[in-house]
């Protein structure tokens, strides 16, 4: 099966700032890929390349095997997207938006669109500028979903949605889209949410891809080890694949990228007492890898 998205050595610079730096990513078909990273990491820039709104300065971007800048109709008719700022014309009414999109997308399903509208409790006569943040996000989702796109690209889809919609509806949509063999690529700050719905995770930091793997694989390969040093050691213990370490009283908490057996052997030989070995959260892994919490960074 040909991957849906292939970014190869993609670099994007905005004057002195490098938004994407020799970036490589392959998104297989039928997967839900969560794109995580702090603000300014390059997530939106990647999404803009996928939609053909940015031309590759160097490297290549292929979506369904095509260049989205050269073949916008062939590529974009198979993509449903929601932008981070929910950019929609305020003068339009919900009903007009549905009518407009219906004509643009060959696969638009009016029945499904109406179902979504009812599910989201949207007034068809309401102007988009009068909608609340959450309603605007729902309207954007409706426009992105109703043509049953092969690739659903959502930039911070949870933003503005209340917890119930976020957990139940969004999750259900993702599962249903993936179940039908279609692909979802979404960016998010909310790592718990990503853990709930994503099959694969791509962590982006400072324009580079730090990790890209299945959630299970990432969790299996990373460990959070709590050690107690018998000799009251003040410097950080050296364990294989150490990504970060933090002292708390006599204990050290170390996030490592190594098999558990190797970690145990190494700790034993160094004379450390292992208090616990746990699976770290995605947040722990991100902080350990990037050296910065995910909610930091420039906006």
């Amino acid at each position: 099966m040909e991957p849906v998205v292939i970014a190869k050595n993609l670099t994007r610079k905005y004057r002195r700032v490098t938004a994407l730096d020799d970036f490589n990513l392959t998104v297989p078909e039928g997967q839900v890929l969560g794109l995580v990273g702090e603000n300014g990491a390059g997530k939106s820039t990647l999404i803009q390349h996928i939609l053909g709104m940015l031309r590759a300065q160097s490297g290549t971007m292929r979506v369904f095997g095509l260049d989205p800048v050269q073949e916008p109709v062939k590529v974009l008719s198979r993509i449903g997207y929601l932008s981070e700022n929910r950019d929609m014309p305020g003068w339009m009414r919900v009903r007009e938006l549905m009518r407009y999109c219906h004509s643009l997308y060959p696969g638009w399903d009016p029945k499904y669109a109406e179902e979504l509208r009812e599910l989201f409790e949207l007034d068809p006569t309401a102007k988009l500028r009068t909608l609340s943040l959450g309603q605007t996000a729902k309207t954007g989702l409706l426009a992105a979903l109703a043509h049953k796109p092969d690739l659903l690209v959502l930039d911070e889809p949870s933003s503005g949605l209340d917890p119930v919609v976020r957990r139940d509806i969004l999750g259900a949509i993702f599962r249903s889209v993936a179940h039908e063999g279609r692909t979802v690529l979404f960016s998010s700050h909310l790592l718990e949410e990503v853990e709930l719905v994503a099959d694969r995770i791509a962590m982006v930091h400072a324009g580079k891809l730090m990790i890209h793997d299945t959630l299970d694989q990432i969790k299996t390969e990373h460990h959070r080890v709590t050690l107690r040093s018998s000799n009251g050691q003040s410097s950080a213990p050296t364990l294989p694949g150490t990504l970060s370490s933090e002292q708390s009283g006599l204990e050290w908490k170390v996030v490592c990228f190594a098999p558990e057996s190797e970690l145990r052997a190494s700790a034993q030989s160094a004379g450390h007492e292992i208090v616990s070995i746990e699976r770290p959260s995605l947040d722990d892994i991100f902080v350990a890898r990037a050296g910065t919490p995910i909610n930091s960074g420039r906006d």
Binding site: L51, K74, Y81, M88, P89, L104
Partner: protein, 557 residues
């Protein structure tokens, strides 16, 4: 009182940067005029064309700056949503905004008027109609920030009173300043001869602006109307009135002003996008043109001859108003708005399709605007002058302009040429607001420079004509550069498949008809102005390539 001050502060906070920039530019322009007047006085005293052009600069500059500020979201008079929930009475909410807007419009118009009145004495002293035109241009200031972002119904309701307030402020300052401080030096005989007036050396030669009773009552009525509209809008925003009551009226007005029908589905993606571009902003063009044209007609002066007034009616409705509004709408239509790019740029439409749609809806808007304007022209001619045949009145105007009195065939040819040129100028103006109009702007600047400076400091007299070797040299060089630029842009558009080769014959026909129409006015243009006139042939064809090229650049950065 505290709440009221807070509201005023909010307005100031949202607008001060943009307004400061405009004020600074006006101040700079005033300083420049003083310097120029002191150092090279000969230009102002000996060339009325420059003075005339200079009268437009402050207002045109201020409008341009407002455009930029609005485009960068650094200026905006609408309250943020949170302000609607402040514990203040709706009267205070609306009153603060209302007073602030009136003050801004009046100050900007007054500043522009004061500069014109004090520093471009000659122009105002002998050509009172200039006051009308510059005042009208000043009202556009109000229009820009009041209309942008509103629907036609609301926009027009706000624009007309803003225009009235602005013109009143302008006229008042003009009258006060000119009466008390200026006109120390009467115009020279040479200046007057240039525009065909009899010199009366030693006497003040300005015409005091008319302030009839209806002007004041009309102004007061429009202010009340504007206040009512604003009050109702604020009450609606605060949910103080049922949405349906006001909404029903808004929908009724909107449905009429859209000038297209709603249907359940579109024939094609292109048809859907035509609807989108039309509803987004272009549908406003015919209505604003009509409003502006009628506003200009309303400023007719009873002291002028009927023939002159008839000419102003035709010129305002069919000439000036469509051209001015085209710039505004063209700007709003083509500005690189990130929100638009996210919404439309990510849709399955080619850049060529979006460009074609933009060009087509512009043609539709021009056609409807002229239809409306012609109906208004016929009505105005009938009511004001009991003229039952507007076509013959137009022909008479053309005969006056061209000084050609010939057969009816000749008249019809001249009429057709004039209509074509008017359409072409309006078409060009659509694309002058943005980067897509770069070539057009170069042509315009070039033509204007040639036109206005041909009697500059270095010139030779050849018979009745004044020829400036400097400007001929500049003109030739820049013309060549512009032709190269146009060819390059066309080549690029064709190479990137943004423009079909098949459209080239159509573009050639447009150019040929323009040459033919221009040729009919060869006697008016004059032999020494043929170069800038010919340059205008490039202007209307430039959008065919520059619109898709610019859009491609905006869409795929």
């Amino acid at each position: 009182m505290r709440a009221f001050t807070t509201l005023l502060w909010e307005q100031w906070r949202q607008t001060w940067r943009g307004l400061a920039l405009i004020a600074g530019a006006l101040f700079g322009y005033w300083l420049l005029l003083i310097l120029v007047e002191r150092l090279v006085f000969i230009i102002f005293s000996n060339n009325p064309r420059i003075a005339l052009a200079a009268a437009y600069v402050p207002v045109a500059g201020a409008v341009g700056l407002l455009f930029m500020q609005e485009s960068r979201s650094q200026i905006g008079f609408a309250y943020p949503r949170r302000m609607f929930w402040l514990p203040v009475h709706t009267y205070a909410l609306v009153g603060a905004q209302f007073l602030y807007k009136i003050a801004v419009i009046a100050l900007l118009a007054a500043a522009a008027g004061w500069i014109c009145a004090t520093e471009i004495k000659l122009t105002f002293a002998i050509m009172p109609q200039v006051v009308m035109f510059t005042g009208m241009a000043a009202t556009l200031l109000g229009m820009v920030f009041l209309v942008c972002g509103y629907g036609t119904g609301t926009g027009l309701a706000l624009f007309v009173p803003a225009a009235a307030i602005s013109i009143l402020a302008f006229r008042y300052v003009y009258a006060a300043v000119s009466h008390n401080f200026i006109l120390q030096m009467p115009p020279s005989a040479y200046d007057l001869a240039q525009i065909g007036l009899t010199p009366e050396t030693g006497e003040f030669l300005y015409v005091y602006p008319e302030f009839s009773a209806w002007t004041w009552w009309g102004g007061a009525a429009t202010i009340v109307w504007w206040a009512m509209v604003s009050y109702l809008a604020a009450r609606r925003a605060r949910s103080e009135v049922p949405g349906d009551r006001v909404g029903r009226w808004v929908r009724m007005v909107s449905n009429v002003t859209y000038l297209d029908r709603d249907s359940d589905e579109f024939a094609s993606p292109e048809a859907a996008h035509r609807w989108f571009e039309w509803r987004r902003v272009v549908y406003m063009y015919p209505w604003i043109t009509l409003a502006l044209g009628l506003f200009m007609v309303a400023t007719l002066r009873s002291s002028m001859e009927d023939e002159e007034n008839k000419f102003i009616v035709g010129f305002s409705l069919l000439g000036i108003a469509p051209a001015i509004v085209a710039v505004l709408i063209g700007y709003a239509m083509t500005r690189p708005d990130p929100r638009y790019m996210w919404f439309v740029g990510g849709r399955p439409l080619t850049t060529g399709t979006i460009s074609r749609v933009r060009l087509l809806v512009s043609i539709k808007a021009i056609a409807i605007a002229y239809l409306l304007a012609f109906v208004a022209y016929t009505g105005a001619s009938f009511i004001l002058f009991q003229s039952t045949n507007p076509i013959s009145a137009l022909v008479t105007d053309l005969e006056l302009i061209t000084s050609t009195y010939g057969s009816s065939r000749n008249s019809l040819v001249m009429l057709a040429s004039a209509v074509w040129i008017a359409l072409i100028v309006v078409w060009s103006m659509f694309w002058m607001g943005r980067t897509a109009g770069v070539v057009a702007w170069i042509a315009a600047i070039l033509a204007s420079a040639y036109f206005y400076f041909d009697g500059g400091r270095v010139y030779q007299r050849q018979g009745d004509n004044i020829v400036s070797p400097t400007w001929i040299a500049f003109g030739s060089a820049l013309t060549l550069l512009m032709v190269i630029g146009v060819v390059a842009v066309f080549s690029w558009a064709i190479y990137r498949k943004l423009l079909s080769v098949k459209t080239l014959p159509a573009i050639a026909i447009v150019a040929a008809v323009t040459v033919w129409a221009g040729f009919q006015f060869r006697d008016v243009i004059g032999p020494d102005n043929m170069v800038p006139a010919l340059i205008w042939i490039l202007v209307p064809i430039a959008p065919f390539a520059t619109v898709p090229v610019t859009l491609a650049w905006q869409r795929h950065r």
